[in-house]
């Protein structure tokens, strides 16, 4: 059973929710695109229906809601370390199934890889509620069906946006209070076929031919073409690498902070070690490392049961 809303009742719900939650969704930032006179579609805080941008694929993912580009870990005063406070409010994210699934990938790195949970990630992640946007057509460059990330059932509220007619399925009763409207029959739908099919290799076959894959001429082509800008890893919702960075304040050099900032295996300096050694200097080697991490290493070590990140096509 779903609830039917219109723009006004939807906005009323946002207003009610905003008392307890910060609400994020894809938004259009006028004139903020990479090129002149272009807009940037990215994730930002919203307060009304008209703020949500649904007509275009977002350039950046919602990962920065819980994993900021720059995140202060400590403030330093002399020899004291102080952990920053965070907002008491919860976090609601309107996002498509693919992006919701990508959060599960980040979860595996930050919460399950290694002996410890990443406390900075967890304290934001625990606040997140998934408001999933129905996506049945995708965009021309999407390939979520091939990766099995086209469905996400563990949502709090699911929305179908059809101009002024908005239908939602409230799975988490915690949110029932905010949405008032006519009860209607409603079953969430998911995309079943993209314009693009991506053929992912069988992990078992890769295991038998790792050296063949490593030395494939495909990577040489990337050595020639890739400029190692790291753009792909910045946009990717499942890329999670970071570097630690200390700074001091110019007006008070005795004080400063330790941050983590997004890093990229595609960019110079990522593998530098003391004394001048570095690894994967060719850009094609970096591309191979990144691709293998996504389609092979991850599956081998961190696969969870919710999403078939790799599947035989």
């Amino acid at each position: 059973m779903g609830v039917e809303l219109n723009a006004k009742s939807f906005n009323d719900a946002l207003k009610i929710l905003s008392i307890k939650y910060k609400i994020f969704a894809p938004v259009r930032l006028k004139g903020k695109g990479a090129f002149s006179d272009t807009d940037l579609v990215t994730y930002g805080e919203i307060s009304s229906y008209k703020d949500i941008e649904l007509s275009e694929k977002s350039r950046y993912s919602p990962k920065e809601v819980i994993y900021p580009i720059t995140q202060t870990l400590f403030y330093f005063t002399e020899d004291e370390y102080k952990e920053p406070e965070i907002d008491d409010k919860g976090i609601v994210v309107f996002l498509r199934p693919c992006d919701a699934n990508s959060y599960l990938k980040l979860d595996n790195i930050f919460l399950k890889n290694g002996p410890y949970e990443d406390n900075y990630y967890k304290r934001l992640r625990d606040k997140v509620k998934f408001f999933v946007i129905e996506c049945t057509k995708g965009f021309s460059t999407c390939f979520c069906v091939s990766t099995g990330s086209n469905k996400f059932l563990d949502y709090d509220v699911f929305f179908r946006f059809d101009d002024d007619k908005i239908t939602c399925d409230i799975k988490n009763e915690e949110f029932s209070y905010a949405f008032s409207g006519k009860e209607v029959e409603f079953s969430p739908e998911f995309i079943e076929k993209n314009e693009i099919d991506v053929k992912l290799p069988d992990i078992g076959k890769i295991s038998q031919k790792v050296e063949y894959v490593f030395n494939h001429e495909l990577w040489d082509e990337y050595t020639k073409r890739c400029i190692a800008c790291g753009r792909c890893t910045v946009s990717c919702p499942t890329c999670s690498c970071f570097s630690m960075q200390d700074i001091f304040y110019k007006d008070n050099p005795k004080c400063g902070e330790r941050r983590r900032v997004w890093a990229s295996c595609m960019v110079d300096g990522f593998t530098d070690v003391a004394g001048g050694h570095s690894y994967r200097q060719k850009y094609g080697e970096r591309m191979r490392f990144k691709v293998m991490h996504k389609i092979y290493d991850y599956k081998k070590t961190l696969q969870h049961n919710n999403v078939h990140w790799l599947r035989k096509v």
């Binding site: 370390y81 930050f110 290694g114 990443d118 406390n119 690498c241 890093a263 295996c265």
Partner: protein
Amino acid sequence: MTNVYMPRKAEIISIIPQTDIDYTFRLKSDILPQHGQFLQVSIPKIGEAPISISDYTDEYIELTIRKVGTVTDAIHELKPGDLLFIRGPYGHGFPVEDFKNKNVVIAAGGTGLAPVKSIINRYYRNPKEIKKLNILMGFKSPKDILFEDEIKKWKEKFDVLLTVDNGNETWTGNTGLITKFIPDLKIENPDDTIVIVVGPPMMMKFTCLEFLKRSIPEKNIWVSFERKMSCGIGKCGHCKINETYVCLEGPVFNYTKSKQLLD
């Protein structure tokens, strides 16, 4: 919730210069690491770096640090009584329990001697733990030799071979790479011999190959990898090779594993 990135203070008890650019910092600490584990060492407002533990007791740990970057430059400016900030120890060290009653060969190049010094001193204190210890050490030049006082001490109990790539007018010892001396090394029973190799990547690669030529089984060879760990706990991705996080599974690896780690 435990903050896994929160370092703790460690007071510098003493600083022992080894060379012009390598100092050993002795820190007050009750950490009892595995041989070969590393710490994340930091100075607030400067930064954090992974440093292997070169020795320890139940009262202090030692870090032998080369001045090669922003963090290590700043560490070299510190004095006894100053504080360093540490997290860890992290990773897996050498499985010394498995080395008991074996012949052990340690081949170390340059600062690669630091992560294995505590093992050598363990055997110095308890020589009966193993059958025999051979130590091969290579440095670029006589002025780069680390732990000279301890090397003299080790020579009392173990077969020690010290070589430099390039000698000087006063150098009367061996010259040449470590690999030059492996063919003539006395190895009585390869199957009963454990080999530890630590040093620069090229040194480790060719030293391991020389030991394989001497019929040392791959499973008897252990190496330690140097990688840039930013977090040390399997999150940041900097140290990853294939599906292996060096900070979690390493930095010490058996050769059977390390030979599969392809960059």
